[in-house]
């Protein structure tokens, strides 16, 4: 049962071959046995999950069935969920029980999906290895010495280890796609504004976007059908006509024009990943696609521009953690400023402090134009690169990450080398485009290789369609780690 797709699970629930309570119990049992090794979950609450499952069983018995009714879903610990601890991987929120539901939690509750638990993540979604979590690192199910990627590392590991049928993530600079690649699963970051950010703990608001993580493109399409939609409570939510992402999955790829950015296939890319993508191109050609080279000339400045913009937004967003209204408050202070300073010094980990300080610096008097405005101008050039590329091709294909999963501890003392693991994903967030990562092979030492499809605005259906067609003729996505 742990290898069934969402569609198969829904079929079993619908025909009453299993109940939601039984299904949820079997996943809770799996979590119980594997979480000590993998640390994919920060919080599980079997009582609350099983109560929801019993309610879903009543809906199923009444025939009130939607595609996710009765199916347990792992939620990244960044989405506020009423009554659930919502820690964001931080000591600062380690005692925070959300008083309301995020928009996407409401979406899942409305269709009768089950909250299976809260997945581990880099602190405040800042990291690419899941090592910045206050609750300890997540271990990659393919190799327990390797990182799962980040920041949605717990969600990726949970799906890869069959500790959840599917999960959610958020992606500010690659946090859905990079862990999906490193754990051998499929994940999509939608167009900025497609999924509401209401109740998503903010990191960099002009870049943050929630999206699905599953074993297949089909599972991601089912989740995206539930998550996407206009929400007036998010000022940047877009009123885009609703689409059925499942319906178009099988459309033929005849005549599809795929571009390979030459800047992505340089010395920094592992030869094994380059080779996997070459083989994938052959597969896609056989499906009818045309492959051609394109150029994204401003790619090299995406990382520097991102660390200015994301840090600036983070320094502003994280001002709210002051020990007054919720979250951690230090003990023993002499006045109000001392309380703020000690609360933040003790409540935040080093990576979060680094980004707050960089953000504070680039926004400070005298530096604003040289850093913040400069980065915003580069953001425009990067978005223009993509817009020019989409005049010539329908989608862009490239690596998700320059290397397969690295070892735990390998980069944790060198922030800049950690930042470079997002070299192919960050530009997509700056432009606000949709990007999807899917499994495309394995390295010589048995670690998954992912590739990334980048689409034009609101082209999620096409990305899922290409990934689905690819998954019909390959089996990388069906491989299972031995645990």
């Amino acid at each position: 049962m742990l290898n069934y797709s969402l569609n198969e699970l829904s079929g079993l629930l619908k025909s009453r071959k299993i109940s939601s309570v039984e299904l949820t119990q079997s996943y809770l049992k799996r979590i119980d046995s594997l979480n000590p090794k993998i640390n994919a979950y920060i919080t599980v609450n079997p009582e609350a999950s099983l109560k929801q499952a019993a309610e879903a069983d009543i809906r199923l018995a009444r025939g009130q069935i939607q595609p996710l009714t009765g199916i347990p879903i792992a939620q990244k610990d960044i989405f506020c969920a009423k009554g659930w601890k919502t820690t964001c991987g931080s000591k600062m929120l380690s005692n925070f029980v959300a008083p309301y539901d995020a928009h996407i939690i409401e979406c899942f509750n409305n269709v009768g999906a089950i909250m299976l638990g809260r997945t581990n993540m880099d602190e405040f979604a800042m990291g690419s290895s899941n090592e910045t979590s206050f609750f300890g690192p997540v271990h990659n199910p393919w190799d327990l010495n390797a990182v799962p990627g980040g920041s949605s590392g717990g969600s990726a590991a949970a799906v890869a280890a069959r500790m959840a049928p599917a999960a959610t993530g958020t992606d500010t600079g690659g946090s859905i796609r990079q862990p999906a690649a490193l754990c051998g699963i499929t994940g999509i970051k939608p167009t900025y504004g497609l999924v509401s950010r209401y109740g998503l703990v903010a990191y960099a608001s002009s870049l943050d976007q929630a999206g699905p993580m599953g074993r297949t493109a089909e599972d991601c399409a089912i989740l995206l059908n539930t998550m996407a939609g206009f929400d007036p409570r998010d000022s940047t939510s877009i009123n885009h006509p609703s689409e059925d992402y499942v319906q178009s999955l099988s459309a033929p790829l005849q005549g599809l024009k795929i571009g390979l950015p030459k800047e992505y296939f340089t010395a920094g890319l592992s030869a094994e990943i380059a080779q996997s993508i070459e083989i994938a191109c052959e597969v896609l050609r056989r499906e009818g696609a045309e492959i051609r080279e394109i150029s994204l000339p401003n790619s090299p400045v995406a990382i520097p521009a991102y660390y200015v913009l994301a840090s600036a937004e983070a320094s502003s967003n994280l001002e709210r953690y002051d020990g007054v209204r919720y979250g951690y408050r230090a003990k023993g202070y002499k006045d109000l400023v001392d309380m703020y300073k000690k609360t933040r010094a003790q409540g935040f980990g080093p990576e979060v402090k680094r980004r707050i300080m960089i953000g504070t610096y680039v926004l400070s008097a005298g530096y604003y134009d040289a850093y913040y405005i400069k980065a915003q101008k580069l953001r425009r050039l990067i978005a223009n690169d993509f817009s020019n590329a989409f005049d010539k091709v329908d989608v862009i294909l490239g690596p998700t990450s320059p290397q397969p999963a690295f070892n735990l501890g390998e980069r944790s003392n060198d922030p800049v080398s950690m930042y470079l693991s997002d070299i192919y994903t960050i530009a997509v967030n700056l432009a606000g485009l949709p990007g999807l990562s899917l499994p495309a092979g394995f390295s010589g030492n048995g670690r998954p290789i992912g590739m990334q499809l980048i689409g034009n605005y609101f082209d999620e259906a096409r990305l899922l369609n290409i990934a689905h067609r690819y998954q019909q003729v390959t089996d990388w996505h069906q491989r299972e780690p031995s645990l």
Partner: protein, 102 residues
Amino acid sequence: MSLTSNDVHKIAHLARIAVNNSPDDTEQDEISTWLAQLNNILSLIEQMQATETNDVEPMAHAHNLKLRLREDCITETDHREEFQAIAPEVEAGLYLVPKVIE
């Protein structure tokens, strides 16, 4: 350009982050760790300067959005008790902080 220890002190103060809260760390050690790491990040950021951006319009956001207006009516209900139940210190419906006015 690189930061000095004084700059790090100033930035940490602006960001309201205490730099010496752990009894086994001397303040100087913590500052020098921050200094090295922040300077590394800033030299990564300096790579921006290599690209010419005269006449480029800054981009704040992926979409050309206008902020929406809504009807001027009450949409929020009262959640004071729930919200204050998770606060570190409250009294009589107020959040308590150390005295700020002598």
